[in-house]
Amino acid sequence: MQKARRIYLYLLSAISLGVLLTGLFLLLHVLLDVLGIGRGAPIGDGGTDRQQLSVALALIGVGFPVWGVHWWLADRGLRPDAPRADEERGSGVRALYLSVVLGAALAFGAVAAVAVLRHLIGSVLGSQSDNLSYDDLPASISLLLVAGAAWAYHVAIRRRDMAGGPMTGAAAWLPRLYLYGAALITLQLMLSAFADLFRLLGEVLAPAADGAFSDAGYRSYVAADDISAVVVLAVAWLGHVWYARRLVEDPGWRGASERPARLRLAYFVAVILIAAIVVLVRGADAMRAILVPLFGATQALDTNPTGADLVREVLVALAAGLLWAIAWRVHLGWMRGEALRQDAAERSRFAEQLQLHVVAAVGLGFGAVGLAWLLGITLDVLLGGGRTAAADGFWHLELATFVPFAVLGTAMLLWAWSRAMVHYAAEPLREAGSVVRRAYLLLALAASILTGVASLGVVLYRLFGTILGVTLSGDTVSELSTPTGFLIVALAVALYHGVAQRRDAALRAAQAEEAPARTLTLSGPDGANFEAAIVELRATLPPGYRLEEG
């Protein structure tokens, strides 16, 4: 009953808050319009101010009383004299409400801040592009003010809730999901904006013959857009990362709850995963730019790049990749440092396993696709397929595209996997029992089996079609070469990882037979952090004892 009431109160609060904020946005918009901020000189007197004001007043008139009453009822349960104050403060529904409002307010506020800053920077740079007219400055300022106020108010509410004492379960992890989700998204968008800025810089320093930035006004607009995005997103990312760091360093319950949080570790691993993908893709872009003329693929692309074009493409791709490499290094350092501070072995080992296997998975994915494609082209050449004999030379472009994936992907795989194997060689039993290694091997096995099945399906369709006399389009060798390449590589990957999986299973079975063990059950209070408890228990075990999850 209490939960249903809570859902009703927070749902109504959220909906009416949306109505209220929309009304306030319109009200501020009209006010700025009337004051002539960011608007041109009006012609005639057929203004729409009064209509807009009427709508704004109606929305506020409806939204504020409904929100005020429902939010007051919801918040009243947190008064110190309320019988269920702690239950209310730690409820998952309240945490969900706060997280959703914070996320939405941050997103709208960031978009508006970028638009305002873009307008200001564009004015300084003298942007003359038609696109600048689309920036509705009063709307952006109004949105920024309304979203900023809503965000700040709900941050204050959350901080007040946290000041009341420890929080567990959904009340802890939902706002944490907002915190690290916002940090991850703003970091990703900020580095993308940086990449766009590098692209613009490259085009300015070495303009392409048919470049999109030949128009100075448009160039200024894009520069203003990229710079404002970088500034706003950097502030948002740094703010969230700084706050998270403060939580970790808190000597009280906040720190004790934050330090072992899986979401914090997941944030680091997610950054490393994205960084590995982007570094590989940007590296492949740079390599492809060199290989396209080297392999004679310019005809297929219908381009004739100059030396300056090549240098620009390579440097722009490498600069964008370098930023992500720095982000990778920084987050890896943070992750290792925190793991070491928490416990000397367990957490560090887990973190290291995670990052090595994530990077290995990225390398394996790209490397396998690249190798499979190259194998397909090789088969086509060897068997006289039409694809590699065609005059359009399109397969040269395929070579220039997939050689970088094969080379860089394999290099990344070997680098990460060899390090993982060093750990394996040192402690085979422990590594064989690790969840991370098991998950990686099963993932690789599943992906390769699915790829193999799909490739085999294509091959068999062609085979049966030929036997049954079906009219099939295209050259048989060329149609079969790429699926065959994928089939062979998928078989090799499945074989390797399948053997490793079986070896690990055998090791685990032998260990289970040899070592005396007892099965215990760990229980805890509502919203218990079992991960943290297990880490603490492992740290207290005497030499020779191990604690494994079933």
Binding site: L20, L24, L27, L28, V30, L31, D33, V34, L35, G36, R39, G40, A41, P42, I43, G44, D45, G46, G47, T48, D49, R50, Q51, Q52, L53, V55, A56, L57, A58, L59, I60, V62, F64, G68, W71, W72, D75, R76, L78, R79, Q128, D130, S133, Y134, D136, Y153
Partner: protein, 158 residues
């Protein structure tokens, strides 16, 4: 701060903002801008006034000689009859800036349109660029426009 007091503070702040906005909108109501006589902005304002007055002949006279060579007054009137309906009270046009100099400039405009009804009402804003040339008889619009939209005219001799 207790929840009751914080909600009261928020309500008071919103009320103050509402009162301020209503007073400002009523007192500082935006009127038509007076542009310098003989300027391209003044010509555009006169052109739109002619539209507001349903004076199509006067509106046609604000088009350049080059446009007149392509579109006759009869064609223009026909297009207006077919695609007219621009003289609506819920339009507002603002001149954001003037690009260029000499005898040829481009006016950057924003067309504001209030549409819908009740709580679903909204305002759409869209930018327009209008090329204008200076002729012996003043600034003229050098595009085939019906109000501020491109006209559906067939080029003469095409």
């Amino acid at each position: 701060m207790s929840s009751t007091r914080s909600i009261l503070f928020i309500g008071a702040g919103i009320l103050a903002l509402v009162v301020l906005s209503v007073v400002v909108v009523l007192l500082v109501r935006r009127g038509p801008t007076t542009f310098p006589a003989g300027s391209p902005q003044a010509a555009m304002a006169d052109y739109l006034t002619a539209w507001d007055d349903d004076d199509i002949e006067a509106a046609y006279s604000f088009l350049s000689d080059g446009v007149h060579e392509q579109v006759s007054l009869a064609d223009y009137q026909q297009a207006v009859d077919q695609y007219g309906g621009y003289n609506q009270p819920n339009h507002q046009v603002t001149i954001d800036r003037v690009d260029g100099s000499g005898d040829s400039v481009t006016l950057r405009l924003t067309v504001e349109e209030f549409y819908g009804d009740g709580l679903s009402a909204n305002v759409s804003r869209s930018p327009r660029s209008v090329r204008m040339v200076h002729q012996p008889d003043g600034w003229k619009i050098d595009e085939q426009l019906v109000w501020l939209d491109p006209g559906p005219f067939i080029q003469k001799g095409a």
